[in-house]
Symmetry: C2
DNA sequence: GAAATAGTTAGCCCTTGCGCTAAGTGTTTT
DNA sequence: AAAACACTTAGCGCAAGGGCTAACTATTTC
């Protein structure tokens, strides 16, 4: 659970940058080379590489170098963690609205008794 | 779309902190007072208030002061934006795997011809 | 009305994040 | 072998984030 939370920290931080979200979207269409990716963003290659590293160290993408070219692939499983967190919040919320409903119901029953 | 992206920036940043995620979880069970919330976290009140403000300015919670007490309420609609983004990624991914499948199918057809 | 309560504001420290340039490494190309 | 290519490393500058203390304001409470 502690690890789960630390993972979410990293994931959300990684997703908080528009460049990184764009990379994820781009990689959704298929593997791409660092150079090809970088060309689409208005920043230097070293700056761009930091984003790639951030995505990789948070498990959102995988990369491999062959020759002098590094290729990036989307690693989808990781986004499922975010999904899980959202689902959990929904669950909590719904449990609460259920309680609220039964509260309302209880009140109505009390009124019916009188 | 530009606004959508800026909103996502703020949302993901807001969600990237464990304290703030805990507050969201807590508020899922119902509205709570700043003081009551703060008591559960190992930090001073001014520090905690910053988190509350961050959540509020990103629309994840709403707060109102009555007398000297400020009460926080979860504002669920906002999380839907995150859901939307995730759904979009899934959509892109699935469109791609569809293309991959038809590619495989095409290859098979070519082989069948021979 | 004095004291306790619940936030709020201001400002400081330190670390981290994101951009940059300059220079270096290993791999093709010519 | 030289030149071009595709990163990579190192280090710098600046703004923002998350924590703190100290001091202040506006309600209650006694």
């Amino acid at each position: 659970m502690a690890q789960y939370s630390a993972d979410l920290d990293g994931l959300f931080v990684a997703l908080a940058d528009p460049t990184r979200r764009d990379v994820i979207r781009r990689l959704g269409r298929g593997p791409t080379t660092v150079g090809d990716l970088a060309r689409e963003f208005p920043m230097t290659l070293p700056s761009f590489m930091k984003h790639v590293r951030t995505l990789e160290s948070n498990g959102l993408i995988r990369t491999a170098k062959s020759g002098r070219v590094r290729t990036c692939v989307l690693s989808r499983e990781r986004l499922a963690l975010v999904d899980d967190w959202l689902a959990e919040q929904r669950r909590i919320w719904e449990a609460r609205t259920d309680r609220l409903e039964s509260f309302v119901t209880d009140q109505r029953e009390k009124n019916d008794e009188s």
